[in-house]
């Protein structure tokens, strides 16, 4: 994380000590991120609708992981109920579409309601810490699922179908959805980079690293946490709204699936929580592999997911991005450069077996 925070060169002082160099790692992250998203943007050129469909969903998971990263990765609050915002976005779009309102209105309303819900929910639950926060958010998502099923929101048992546009628009619309998710992923990437370079970002990282110390240094931790929660809810709500239209119908167990919350966490972890590129890389690797297995007829999806989680949490708890950073670490000033490779390997080994007894 630290290396993602840019430091500009301070003005020369009378001090003899070396002035810290400006870190430009955010620029690299931006370029690599643009490169990755640009490559994905070429998928429609293949003209294969099923590929397009797959990559649309992969981009959706990118967005979900990126927005989870704001609260979970930067702030360190393990939200396990972010799927609630996804569901809220989906239901908003579905209900307004069925009420013959335009799609964009539903999208905006959904994002606003998701943000407002995050704010109101954050007021009590962001006073909790650790496990308690995680379970409380999980409980909210589950309660919303039960509520929409029992109260018949949108339709009997909470099942909704969304009027799909006429058959003529059919293939074009898939491109629209693809580029909408791509734009959302790009927006999240830019927000993340701006965050790492802002005062807000420093506040969130300080809260993650040590909330008590952050408070003692004058950070209004509670407000910042709520802001981070809202920031993470809005793109999730937008993704839910897009998904509702894209899937042309859903039921409560689909859009309030705890599994989606878990995948947000897992993808972010796989790539590196609190890094700029981690969620994007994690989402692409895991979801692409997952889709490949599904299409090859592999049925035990949850076994795979479970195994992946076990292996990642044991061996890669800090994610791929930080693994690469550890390998290509910056040597301390004056260090002998020939030892660099050996030191890098040593760091990686320590990195992999970091948490055992």
């Amino acid at each position: 994380m630290g290396t993602d925070l840019d430091l500009q060169t301070p003005p020369a002082t009378k001090a003899p000590s070396p002035v810290p160099r400006a870190s430009r790692s955010w620029l690299w992250s931006l370029l690599i991120g643009l490169g990755i998203l640009g490559l994905i943007g070429m998928v429609p050129l293949t003209g294969d609708i099923s590929d397009l469909h797959t990559w649309t969903l992969i981009l959706m998971f990118c967005v979900l992981a990126q927005s989870w990263n704001f609260i979970g990765g930067f702030t360190g609050y393990a939200a396990f109920g972010n799927v609630a915002f996804f569901g809220i976005g989906a239901y908003s779009v579905a209900i307004l579409l069925n009420d013959h309102q335009p799609f964009w209105l539903g999208l905006i309303v959904g994002a606003l309601i998701a943000g407002l819900f995050a704010f109101l929910l954050g007021l009590p639950v962001l006073r909790l810490k650790g496990h308690y926060f995680a379970i409380a958010t999980l409980g909210v998502a589950e309660a919303l699922r039960e509520f929409s099923a029992i109260q018949n929101i949108g339709g009997p048992g909470g099942e909704v179908s969304v009027p799909f546009p006429g058959a003529g628009a059919y293939p074009t619309l898939f491109y629209v959805f693809f580029f909408a998710f791509l734009a959302l992923a790009l927006a999240c990437l830019i927000i993340t980079i701006l965050l790492t370079r802002s005062k807000f970002g420093y506040a969130l990282v300080a809260i993650r690293e040590n909330e008590q110390a952050a408070e003692a240094l004058g950070i209004a931790t509670y407000r910042y946490k709520i802001a981070a929660f809202v920031l993470s809810a809005i793109p999730t709500g937008l993704a839910g709204g897009l998904y509702a239209y894209f899937a042309s119908g859903f039921d409560p167990p689909t859009v309030f699936d705890v599994g989606i919350s878990v995948e947000m966490v897992l993808l972010t972890f796989l790539g590196g929580a609190g890094t700029i590129l981690g969620p994007v890389i994690g989402a692409i690797i895991f979801e692409y592999g997952s889709f490949q297995l599904l299409t090859s007829g592999f049925s035990a999806h949850n076994t795979l997911l479970g195994l992946a989680i076990v292996i990642i949490t044991i061996f890669l708890p800090q994610g791929l991005v930080r693994l690469v950073e550890a390998l290509f670490y910056k040597p301390a000033p004056g260090a002998v450069r020939t030892n660099r490779l050996r030191e890098g390997v040593r760091r990686v080994r320590r990195f992999i077996a970091a948490n055992g007894i």
Partner: protein, 290 residues
């Protein structure tokens, strides 16, 4: 009378809930691990009892012991091979790891037994005494007694035996316990194994009374979590108290007009929030804010 029957149901449900939460509370209290695979272990216990009953024609009550032994071994291996490797990590890592184990275990059970709802029906199921409209079944009473006995046994084990004391000491201060010559790996493995065995016992007992299916684990875990928050961490008795209170809510809330059944998770969550706001240290336990 509806209320009398509800009262009897509550006593059974409350003690069974205590059994559901007992092992979960031990693992959390000693190792600071919220074991999200706890529910899957309970379900596994139920399927062990099912196999014992269907294949070996064993009565469900002795099957409780078998389930405990099997789950003890499973728990030991899981802790030794997996969880010990992340024990010093931030809580989110252990949280995710146990979630992964939960998915894995649930899916393996589903692959092996299928996703259908199963149940164990004994010949003596439901036989008991009837007072007016209130029925008290003998097997229910036996299960309630066993649940309470498990609580007593765990409490005595922790308080009175050398091994139990070692577990408690490790829970209080891992490094100090290590300096006193306690093997942390083994103590943790034993703790998790005992927690899993208690989950197995709960599963084998639940299997006699309620139908079960593989993906049920998650709701057991949420229930156990709420019970531990209600009762507080620290002692087996807190789990019993929490279980009784939770059973009370689950029994009587659906009787309230205009509410009705179906809100299990919503009730659990509402209670969770209420307790966290008004009595953050639970009914009997210690404060859990650190």
């Amino acid at each position: 009378m509806v209320l009398g029957q509800a009262l009897v149901n509550w006593l059974l449900l409350g003690t069974l809930y205590a059994a559901v939460a007992l092992g979960f509370s031990l693992v959390w209290g000693i190792m600071n691990i919220v074991n999200l695979a706890h529910g899957a272990l309970i379900v596994l216990g139920a399927y062990v009892a099912l196999v014992a009953f269907q294949t070996y024609h064993l009565d469900p009550f002795p099957a409780i012991l078998i389930a405990m032994v099997v789950l003890f071994l499973v728990g030991w291996v899981v802790q030794y091979v997996a969880i010990n490797r992340v024990i010093r990590a931030p809580f989110l890592v252990t949280f995710m790891l146990t979630f992964g184990l939960d998915l894995l275990a649930t899916d393996l059970i589903q692959q092996h037994f299928g996703g259908d709802t199963r149940s164990i029906n004994t010949v003596y199921s439901g036989i008991g005494l009837t007072f007016g409209s209130t029925h008290i079944a003998f097997d229910h009473v036996a299960a309630a007694v066993i649940a309470i006995l498990l609580t007593v046994a765990l409490s005595l084990f922790l308080g009175r035996t050398r091994t139990g004391n070692a577990i408690l000491a490790t829970g209080m201060d891992r490094d100090a316990a290590s300096l006193m010559g306690i093997s942390i790996r083994r103590t943790y493995a034993l703790t998790f194994a005992i927690g899993a065995a208690l989950a197995g016992a709960a599963g084998a007992m639940l299997a006699q009374f309620y139908p079960f299916f593989p993906s049920q684990g998650g709701s057991f875990t949420l229930t156990a979590f709420v019970i531990v928050v209600l009762g507080g961490l620290g002692t087996p008795w807190a789990a019993l108290a929490g279980g009784m209170v939770f059973g009370l809510a689950e029994t009587f809330v659906p009787l309230i007009p205009h509410v009705g059944p179906g809100y299990n998770n919503a009730i659990a969550f509402a209670m969770l929030v209420l307790v966290l706001i008004f009595r953050p240290r639970g009914i009997l336990g210690k404060a859990f804010y650190s």
